[in-house]
Amino acid sequence: MRTIATEALHGWAIAQRIQLLSKDVLKVNQGSLYPALQRLERHGWITADWGVSDANRRARFYRLTAAGRERLEQERSEWDRLSTAISLVMRTA
């Protein structure tokens, strides 16, 4: 969700962005991205529209919704708390 927080992207672009941002550490099967996107869509956190890509082809663009943004904030703060806690524990230990 983070990847589409600022702009609407299509599936391939999302995959590229994830790979890039994670510096190739999170290299999942790109195929499994789509079921995940559909799940997010069903929860109402993202929406998708058919549009025209830069290569002039029909593509589906995903965008974060208001509910999704809220959820992202929540997850992020959750994650921050958790990771801070973990790193604290790891470091002191």
């Binding site: 391939w12 290299k27 559909q38 069903r42 593509a59």
Partner: protein
Amino acid sequence: MRALDHAAGVLRALFRNERVDADLAEEMRFHLDRETEANIARGMPPQAAYRAARLTFGSIDAAQELSRDDRPGEAIRRMARDLRFGVRLLRKSPVFAIAGIVIVALGIGAATAIFSVVYGVMLRPLTFQEPERLVSVWLLRRDARNYPAAADAHALRDLPSVFEDVAFFEDENLNLVGDGDPQRLQGASVSPNLFSVLGVSAALGRTFTNDEDQAGLNRVVLLSDALWRGRFGGDRAIVGRQLDINGSLYTVVGVMPPGFQYPSSAHSAWVPLVLEPGELTRQATDNYRVVARLAPGVSLERARSDVTALAERLATTYQGNAEAGMTVDSMLDDAVRDVRPALMLLLGAVSFLVAVACMNLSNLFAARANARIGEFGLRLALGASRKRLISQAIAEAAPVLLLGGVLGVILAAWAVDMFVATAPARLPRAESIELSAPIIGFSLGLLVLTGLAVSIAPAVQAWKSDFTSIAKDGNRSSTSGRGRSSSRRAAVAVQIAFALPLLVGASLLIQSAINVTQVDVGFRPEGVTTLKFEVARSKYPSDGEVADYYARLVEAVRAVPGVASVSLVNRVPLSGGQTNPVHFETASGTAGELTTVDTRTVTPEYFATLGIRLIAGRGFTEQDDADAPEVAIVDERVARTMWPGEMAVGKRFKAPAWRGGGWVNVIGVVGHIRTSGLEIDPAPQVYWSYRQWTQDRMALAVRSGTISDVPIAAITRAVRSVDPRQSVYDVSTMTDIIGDSQAQRRLTTLLIAAFSGIALLLAAVGIYGVVSYGVTQRIREFGIRVALGATGRTVSRLVVWQGVSMAVLGSVIGLVLAIAATRIMANVVYGVAPTDITSFLGATTLLLLVATLASYVPSRRAAAIDPAVILRAE
């Protein structure tokens, strides 16, 4: 709201499924193309670029699958898919499908219909307020239930801690005149509190007030809904109108609600009961039905013990209560006492039939499932989840169970309609029989659970054993797996065991029905038409006037063309009677012991009209009237038991105390006849002259002189020519009366015979199925046997024995079951013992014969085996 949203989502997903799939496919294609382009841009050759793109993407199908599994409504879609698959499988094996559907339909149809009847008649609560507190009170004489007297009912009212209130009533003929033909109404004279005891109020107007049982205030009448609508066109102004009933004017005070059918559905009017002055000191005979409402919290047992104590007190108070006990029955039990044995029998029979059907179904499904156990194993090995296997097994069974169930319910609805339409008139509460949801649910649940349990079994078995052994066992073994086949053989034995008692029962009932038709009734019923009427005492107050009126009636009907003989009797044969205690004279000339005799009042020609033999002495004449000495005619049974070896004519007996108790001379002896029904050997019979013991209710018996019966219209015209206000009722031929008295027996016999026929058929199919399946399983074994020198006969005998051995085992269990089950038939059979050895042997032989035949057919296939063909197929 959330639930609604979710449901909407599921629906949307169900209908837009293909669209979503297509979108996803296009999206992923786009993804791959972009990835390929990017790879080419990085300098890869196109082929390798595409390959690399596919590699990073992973499986397209898996992504599609994952997406589908995740979508809402997937479970429903999968079920629908499985169902489609199930239907497809069935279309490929129509024999299995039809057999399954027929078994389920028959089982559910029969069970639902009979359960509905039993529930409607015996269990459904009466439609009165708090019906569980309503009871009937009976006087017990030598354990037989008798109607109590008004004095007894009043004594019960003095037990307020037990009974909240006590009402009593008797049947009454109400002759309604005016607005068309005179009409006889089946009415009842009731104590005014009857309606408050039952907790019913009038739909229109009011019920009786407590002082309306006083002479002078009693000319009021309540009408039934049916009478009000039928005869008075539902006119709401009926309340307050005066009707001419039994020659007096009665004011209509109310109309009862449509559902009020008490004491029976035939009752259409109620009038207050006015007691005779002597009745409360108990000078009169027992003649009221007593219904009471228990005080809150009083149990039936408590009421019973209290009335028993009361009866002991009353026995010393009233002479008529000497030696009499009292008991209390719940009103519902009371209403259905007569039909309970027959209904319990049907209930038992249908349970056995359902047991046979369940076993049959289980074998059918098991055979099919066994054949597919290898497939299930394979699916499991290829990664199907256990949930999937079970849901698929269910989906395959579902079409058969659903179709069979629907057919069964339709069948039951039809059967219940037929039953109610053709039910014997004497069946109580026929109006409350209907198909009800809980009953359908019950029988549906029974068979569906069986079907499901059996069809899931192979899936369960598949995951319990490992794949290799299933694959081996499923395809290669030369003898059948012992465990599975023995459970199927057991199921066949159980079917036989349950079918046998049904066959024995049917045999007993059919024998009984035949025995009953061969009963010698003692008279010639053919060609005799009867109708009933009641004389209006307001018009003919004295016995002499009534007797003269009767004589005129007889003469008028005699003049009708085609009439050979005509006479009157207070009760026609086979419709019950009036019993009275008399003292026959002993050899020493003193009065002997009290003997209960069946008493009838007749006109002189009665014996000729009915064809009853005159054995000795003379018949009555018109001169045997009130001024002449009292005379009577006795039947041969009185003559034989009272004065054995002597001439009965010229002997005497003492009339009942309430008829003066004087000596009566016997002037003739006639044949003994059936008075209370074909199956009941009645008490000894004594006849009185109509001019000496005049009765108000009489029946006209007319013997036709030609082959055809005398036209009813001509008879009633003749009656009306004597008195235009005379109504008649219950017009029937003697033959029909005999037929109607057998209606319940015929119906029970027919149903049990049908059930046993179905059970026999199912058992035969069951044996055939198992043996035939066994032949298929063991075909290699038989091939080897034949190759090693066994003849076709040996193999055939082996197969037949397999079927017959199941039947023998089942028959042994079945005989034990039958001995236990037929004991409840003691009240239902006639002229044959419930342990009749012929029935038991006959039924067993028939079953074994059918079993042999059902095994012989598949054995022919085994015998015809060509070992070369079988072994080459290896």
